[in-house]
Symmetry: C2
Subunit: 352 residues, 2 copies
Amino acid sequence: MTSVDPVAGAPARRGPRMRDVAALAGVGIKTVSRVVNNEPGVSPDLAARVRRAVEQLGYRPNLGASSLRRADGKTAAIALVLENIANPFSAAVHRAVEDVARERGVLVFAGSLDEDPRRERDLVQAFTMRRADGLIIAPASDDQGYLYDDVVRTQTPVVFVDRPPHGLRADAVLATNAEGAAAAVHHLADAGHERIAYLGDYVRIPTAADRFRGYREAMVDRGLRVRAEHVAHDLHSAEAAERAVRAMLALDDPPTALFSSQNLVTIAAVRALRALGRQHAVALVGFDDFPVADLLDPGVTVVAQDPAAIGRTAAELLFRRLDGERWEPRQHRVETRLIARGSGELRPAVAS
Amino acid sequence: MTSVDPVAGAPARRGPRMRDVAALAGVGIKTVSRVVNNEPGVSPDLAARVRRAVEQLGYRPNLGASSLRRADGKTAAIALVLENIANPFSAAVHRAVEDVARERGVLVFAGSLDEDPRRERDLVQAFTMRRADGLIIAPASDDQGYLYDDVVRTQTPVVFVDRPPHGLRADAVLATNAEGAAAAVHHLADAGHERIAYLGDYVRIPTAADRFRGYREAMVDRGLRVRAEHVAHDLHSAEAAERAVRAMLALDDPPTALFSSQNLVTIAAVRALRALGRQHAVALVGFDDFPVADLLDPGVTVVAQDPAAIGRTAAELLFRRLDGERWEPRQHRVETRLIARGSGELRPAVAS
DNA sequence: GTGAAAGCGCTAACAC
DNA sequence: GTGTTAGCGCTTTCAC
């Protein structure tokens, strides 16, 4: 074969190198490089010989070595930092990014944060050490100034998704959170509701804060009172969310409608209403769609995000920067869409 | 700063290198290397000076260069090839792999196949060129002999998940597909059903084939006839699955129970039964769980897989191989579990 | 058209 | 303890 078989137990057998291919094809190493990289200026004859040798040896170029030496230093890999690659939102963003990247022969490194800022810095640093060409991030930290050393100074493009940057100027692709939440409230108010409750995740999460703002402003717009006892923040577990719903519905003046600002909270709310047998009595609109929401009884009305559009847009912006295009960083908004399925069209029991 | 500012438009600004750190700290480059890699044998004094210089310059080691030179050639990255990183099964596997990898400071490259063997080879090759330390793959191809050049010869560990290897000896982590399907059939037969239909994805997908085998064998075990008109294969779209259910229920001798061998098929079956108003009349057991299956009416009885356990097991096997452990490749089975929620406990309308 | 030599940023081997 | 030198596999530069 290409070289003498190393003794058993030899460390990490490396594959054939460019010079092995060159030797077999009887050409110089630079000619192999030209053929492998589809550079012009190689006679068809030599090119064929090189290709045959590549085939015969099962040669695979070492992109690490290549990018080390190459002038632009590109690794053809981008980094993606998301809340949790297993949740449907992150997974859809990831897939959309992958699809855009694949068209360009670029691979995607992904990592999950679980709302841990420490993990965010560790992940970003790991990606930096691998010299990812660009970064798409949905940050868990409240300040991304630390990115200066990791990406800004090296002129690595960064695009934020789902959450805006702080302490750093960069493009961001965000859902219309406040507007979507406002639409939910207006929808419920249109159905005759006045006592509309808010159920939300950690307020420190920017999307949750924006959705609460949208809720509050829409309530004011409609001349409705935002009652403290009808607002529950920081519901990050299903249990907490269910408990909040039960507590609210046990009030003397219970809400007749619920707006839940997140996926898992919405599902918890459905579960709580079911357990109380109130699912046809209390209206519900949830932010963010989820699978088979239409098959529940009643179908769950939601303000749907478009995670695929968010991911695609972010990836496209990143690649435009990588192509050398320059512009002032700005926020790009991806529209939400209210999907009526029944739960949001329930009317209050008693007209007021 | 570390060097003169390059002229505007200069190509790809590279960050500070080890020698810049060494110069600033007034030490040799090897000392910096020792500090950066936490190698022993550096005086605390010099180590501190190096660390200060690292901090000051915002130095980030270049892992690509490092692994190029290092004896073991490790890149501290593994490749993960799945059907579709956006579907819940793949996403859960991915997340489990990430968690195991993270403990070891290893990053994960992931890619989706969409049942395309061509894409499988392209992806694997892309990972090989980046010299991933190991590969976890749920193949779409029917033969993975091509992996020889990419991984076997370079002694790169490979672990299969969800689908067994063909044309290659390698570890595989698989759900108990046949057994799970058989359990579903027995469950339905226990409820009194005799006309149990099978609804499945492409038969060329090994998991679908195994589940069909489990179905068939269990039917025979129970002395039940497998009727050709009660078997529908190759249902890869929701539309096809819904059509199949409608067609079966329109038969003179319709099934009284359905076993659907896949997630999306199960949901399509629920949709079809709903549309016909038969959801409380026709029993249903689905293979693979899905979110809020318990909130449907009736709750959907499923044979749940454990994708997190599959991913975790696969990653652990991969890392044991990377640690140099050796054993005969074998299949590792992850148990499925039947979760009764209502739809699978419905009894046939007419006793027979 | 083609290829020899230098060097990307780092670690291995070995000297001090 | 510490530093110097060579070279990982490739692309760049430049000579032919």
